[in-house]
C-alpha cells in the first residue's frame, strides 16, 4: 500500500484549512486558505490568529470566534460556526473587506489525549450571503436554483442563530455558575471526569486544573473518605444524594495539612436522552464556618455548664422578662430544693421574709431599667438557716440593644459578713477600750502629777517644819544651857551660904537647889534631844525625797557581801548567821539600795528572838521586769495587825526594847517607792519575818520627781 502524503493532500485540498496551537498561534495552513484570505504563508505563520486577522474585541464577530475556540480548548469537542461575519484586511493595505464565513473548529490530540492543536476549516460564504441578500430585495432572482440556494442558506443562518442563542445562554449559565456563591461542578461518565467546576469549587478544593480529570486524579485525598463510593452509587442508581454538614478533609496544596471542611451538598445525576446516567451535577455550600461556630457555641455552652456547675457560686439566668429558667447545680445543692422548683418567680420564696420585698423591688427595677442588679439578702440554706448572700446580675444585649437574657450569681457572704460584723464590733470595742485606756491614762497622769505636786509639797513642808521646829529648839537648848550655867553659879552661892549661914537653908530650898533644878533641866534636855532626833529624821526623809537618783549597774552579791562584812561584829555578838544566796543584779541608785538592804538586815539582826540562834537569809529571784528579794529571819516576828503600821513614820511594833525612833522602815519604804518598787512583810509572832522587796531591773527615771 502506497503511503499517503498527507501534507500534499492537505495542500491540494480545495477547502481552506488553518492549524492553530492551543494558544491560537497559527502553525500552518494550506494554499486554499492563503487564497481565501488573500495572504501569504510567511505573513501568517507563527502569528496570533487575532493579530493576523484583527477584530474589535467588542464586536460580535470577535466574540463568536473566540467563544468557539474556547469551547474547543476547554471542552475538547468540535465546534461549528455556520455563519460568521469577519472582515479581512486587503493585501495592499487598502482597508478591510467584509466577508462571511462558515467554520468548523476541530480539536487534535496527542497520544495521551492532550490537546495539541485546533484545525479550522473555513469556507468563504460571502457570495451566498450576497445572493440571499439580493433575493430578499429583487424579484428577478426567483428561479428554483436561486430559491434552493437561498433556502439552504437561510437554514444555515437559522441554525447559526439558534447556536448563537444557545451559546449565549450557555455562556450566561457558565458565568452564573462561575460566580455562584455555592460550589458547582459537573462530572461526566463512570469515572466522574470534571467537565465544569466553578470558582467556589476550585477554591474549595484548592486547585484549578480539574477539567478533563477524573475525581480520583483530581482529588485523590477524598477517595478514601467515601465520596467516590457515593458518586458511584448515584451514577449507578440514578438517585441523588443530599449531604448535610458532611465532614471532608481537603489538601489546599501539595504537602499542606489536610484541612477539615463541613459541606452541605447535592449529587444530582444527569440523564442523557436515553435515560441513562451520563454524569453527576455537584452543587453545595461550604458550611465549615457555620459548623465551627455551631460547634464553638455548643462547646462554649457545655463549658459554661461545666464551669457553672463546678464553681462554688450559685448561678442563675432569666429571660428578658425576669423569668428564672436556669440555676446551676450549686444552687440546688445550696438551697436543697428540687430542680426546677425555683423557676419563674419562685426564687423570692427562698429569701428571708424580711428581705423579700426589697429583693423583689430591686429586681423589678433592674428589669425595667437594665441596671445591673446588686443586693445583699438572706437566702435559705438547705440547713434551714438563712445565710447572707450577695446577689448580682447583668443583662446581655443583642445587636439591636435589646436585653436577651439576665445572668446572675449569688455569693455566700455570710461568714464574711459575720467576720465583718465581729471586726466592726471588735474595732468598736477596741476604740472604746482605747478611749477608756487613754482616759484612764490621762486620769492616771493627772493623779501622778497631783501626787508629785503633793509629794513635793510635803517634802517642802517637812523641810520648812523641821527648820522652824529647830529654831525654837535651839533656843530651848541654848537657854537650858544658860540655865545650867546659872545653876552652877547658884550652887556655888548656895554652898557658900550653907557654909556661912546653914540656918538660912530651908528644906524646900535644899530640894530646889539640890534636886528639882537638876531634874527639871535634865527632862528639858532629854526631851529636846529626842525632839531633835525626830526633827532630824523628818529632815532626812524629806532630803532623801529631794535627792536625785543616779542609776548605775549594781552587783547585788557584792553589795550584800559588803553589808555582811560591816555587820560581822554585831552578828558575832548576837550569835547569828547571815546567809547570802546568789541574787540577780540591778541597775539602780546604789545609795538607796544600800540603805534599803542595810536597814532591813539591820532590823533582822536587831529583832532576833532571844535564846534562839539567829538565822537570816537573803535571796533573790528574777521576776519579769523586776527582781524579787527576800530577807527572811527567824526572829521574834511581827503581829499581823502591825504589818502596815511598821512602815509608818515613828511607829514601831512589839516590845520597845531596842534603840530606834520608828524611822528605819518608813525610810526604807520611801526609798523602795522612789526606786519604783514595792515592799511588804509576812510574819508570825515568835517564828520570824520575811520582808519582800521587788525592785525594777532598770530604774525608770520617768517616774522620778527631781
Amino acid at each position: 500500500m502506497n503511503s499517503i502524503n498527507f501534507e500534499a493532500l492537505f495542500n491540494a485540498s480545495p477547502n481552506p484549512y488553518v492549524l492553530l496551537n492551543p494558544s491560537l498561534v497559527i502553525m500552518g495552513m494550506n494554499d486554499a486558505y492563503l487564497r481565501a484570505t488573500m495572504r501569504t504563508r510567511e505573513d501568517l505563520l507563527g502569528r496570533d490568529m487575532f493579530e493576523a486577522f484583527p477584530s474589535d474585541p467588542d464586536s460580535e464577530s470577535y466574540k463568536q470566534l473566540m467563544a468557539s475556540f474556547e469551547r474547543v480548548i476547554h471542552e475538547k469537542v468540535t465546534d461549528h460556526l455556520p455563519l460568521i461575519a469577519y472582515a479581512i484586511p486587503l493585501p495592499d493595505g487598502q482597508g478591510f473587506e467584509e466577508r462571511y464565513w462558515s467554520a468548523t473548529h476541530t480539536p487534535l490530540f496527542d497520544k495521551s489525549g492532550a490537546l495539541i492543536s485546533i484545525l479550522q476549516h473555513t469556507v468563504d460564504v460571502t457570495e451566498l450571503h450576497h445572493l440571499r441578500a439580493l433575493a430578499k430585495t429583487s424579484a428577478l432572482l426567483s428561479g428554483p436554483s436561486a430559491l434552493i440556494e437561498t433556502d439552504m442558506f437561510r437554514r444555515a443562518q437559522a441554525v447559526q442563530e439558534v447556536n448563537q442563542v444557545l451559546s449565549r445562554d450557555r455562556q450566561h449559565l457558565q458565568e452564573l455558575f462561575e460566580q455562584a456563591p455555592g460550589f458547582i461542578a459537573a462530572l461526566s461518565g463512570p469515572d466522574h471526569v470534571f467537565t465544569m467546576a466553578n470558582a467556589a469549587y476550585r477554591q474549595l478544593v484548592g486547585r484549578a486544573d480539574l477539567i478533563g480529570k477524573s475525581l480520583s486524579e483530581a482529588l485523590p485525598e477524598v477517595v478514601e473518605q467515601g465520596f467516590l463510593n457515593l458518586l458511584d452509587r448515584v451514577y449507578r442508581t440514578g438517585k441523588p444524594f443530599v449531604g448535610r454538614g458532611v465532614r471532608v478533609g481537603l489538601q489546599q496544596g501539595a504537602g499542606d495539612a489536610v484541612e477539615e471542611h463541613f459541606l452541605d451538598f447535592v449529587y444530582q445525576p444527569i440523564f442523557s436522552r436515553d435515560g441513562a446516567v451520563s454524569g453527576i451535577f455537584v452543587q453545595g455550600h461550604d458550611v465549615t464556618d457555620h459548623r465551627r461556630a455551631e460547634n464553638a457555641l455548643r462547646e462554649s455552652e457545655e463549658r459554661f455548664r461545666a464551669i457553672a456547675n463546678s464553681i462554688d457560686q450559685l448561678i442563675w439566668a432569666t429571660r428578658p422578662d425576669g423569668f428564672h429558667d436556669y440555676y446551676n447545680q450549686r444552687w440546688y445543692e445550696y438551697t436543697g430544693v428540687p430542680e426546677g422548683s425555683t423557676d419563674g418567680a419562685a426564687w423570692n420564696g427562698m429569701f428571708h421574709p424580711d428581705d423579700r420585698e426589697q429583693a423583689w423591688t430591686t429586681w423589678r427595677r433592674s428589669l425595667e431599667t437594665g441596671e445591673p442588679y446588686h443586693i445583699e439578702y438572706r437566702l435559705r440554706h438547705r440547713s434551714g438557716q438563712f445565710r447572707w448572700v450577695l446577689g448580682r446580675a447583668q443583662p446581655v444585649y443583642d445587636e439591636e440593644g435589646r436585653i436577651t437574657r439576665w445572668y446572675g450569681t449569688c455569693t455566700d457572704i455570710h461568714d464574711l459578713k459575720q467576720a465583718q460584723e465581729e471586726l466592726r464590733a471588735s474595732r468598736e470595742r477596741a476604740v472604746q477600750s482605747e478611749e477608756e485606756t487613754s482616759r484612764l491614762a490621762t486620769i492616771l497622769a493627772d493623779r501622778v502629777a497631783e501626787l508629785d505636786a503633793a509629794n513635793e509639797e510635803i517634802q517642802r513642808f517637812a523641810y520648812i517644819v523641821s527648820h522652824d521646829l529647830r529654831a525654837p529648839l535651839v533656843n530651848i537648848m541654848g537657854f537650858t544651857s544658860e540655865l545650867e550655867n546659872c545653876q552652877t553659879e547658884i550652887r556655888k552661892f548656895y554652898a557658900r551660904v550653907e557654909e556661912a549661914h546653914p540656918e538660912l537653908i530651908a528644906p524646900e530650898i535644899r530640894a530646889v537647889v539640890e534636886a528639882d533644878l537638876t531634874e527639871s533641866i535634865g527632862f528639858i534636855r532629854s526631851s529636846t534631844a529626842k525632839m531633835d532626833k525626830l526633827i532630824n529624821a523628818i529632815l532626812k526623809l524629806s532630803r532623801e525625797g529631794r535627792r536625785v537618783l543616779a542609776p548605775e549597774p549594781i552587783d547585788m552579791n557584792k553589795l550584800l557581801e559588803a553589808q555582811h562584812h560591816s555587820l560581822a561584829h554585831q552578828l558575832q555578838e548576837r550569835g547569828a548567821e547571815l546567809i547570802l544566796e546568789p541574787v540577780p543584779s540591778l541597775v539602780s541608785d546604789r545609795l538607796a539600795v544600800e540603805q534599803v538592804f542595810g536597814n532591813l538586815i539591820d532590823n533582822a539582826v536587831k529583832y532576833l528572838k532571844p535564846g534562839r540562834p539567829g538565822r537570816i537569809v537573803v535571796r533573790g529571784h528574777d521576776a519579769g521586769p523586776g527582781v524579787r528579794y527576800e530577807i527572811e529571819d527567824n526572829g521574834r516576828g511581827i503581829d499581823q495587825k502591825d504589818f502596815e503600821r511598821i512602815f509608818d513614820l515613828f511607829r514601831r511594833s512589839g516590845t520597845q526594847d531596842q534603840q530606834g525612833e520608828g524611822i528605819g522602815l518608813a525610810h526604807v519604804r520611801a526609798l523602795v517607792r522612789r526606786l519604783g518598787g514595792t515592799i511588804s512583810v509576812n510574819s508570825r509572832i515568835g517564828e520570824g519575818s520575811t520582808f519582800t522587796v521587788t525592785l525594777p531591773k532598770h530604774i525608770s527615771m520617768s517616774s522620778e520627781v527631781a
Partner: protein, 143 residues
Amino acid sequence: MPQQQPVTIIMIEDDEGHARLIEKNIRRAGVCNEIRTFANGTAALEHLFSENVRSSGPFLVLLDLNLPDMNGVDILAKLKGDETLKRAPVVVLTTTDDQREVKRCYDLGANVYITKPVEYESFSQAIRQLGLFLSVIQVPETP
C-alpha cells in the same frame, strides 16, 4: 583683844533668842567688838547701804538664812555684789546643814557656814571657834 581697826559685827537674825545666845557666846569667847543686831533683812540692808555706814567698816556679817522678809541668800548676794561691802566676811548661820544650801552660800562668797546646833555644847564650841576666827582674820582696810 587688841585691834587697830575695830571690826563691827552686823548680826542679821530674826530669832531674838538666837541673837541673844550668839551674842552671849561671842562675848564669852572674849570678843568685845560692837555688835549691831537686825531682826530682818530690810533693816539690815538699809543700814549697811546707808552712805555713812557703807564706808565706815570694817564689818563682819553674821547672817541667818531664814528671815521673815527675805531670803538670807539674797542678802548675801547683795553684799557680795557691792564694791565696798563685798570685802566684809560673811558667816552664815542656819538651823540646817542642807548641802545644796551650803554650796550655794559658798558660791556666793560666804566665808563660813555654821549650823546652829541644838546641843548647846557644840553650839558654844562653834561660837567660840567663830570668836577665834574673828580674832585671826585680817579684814582688809577700806580704801
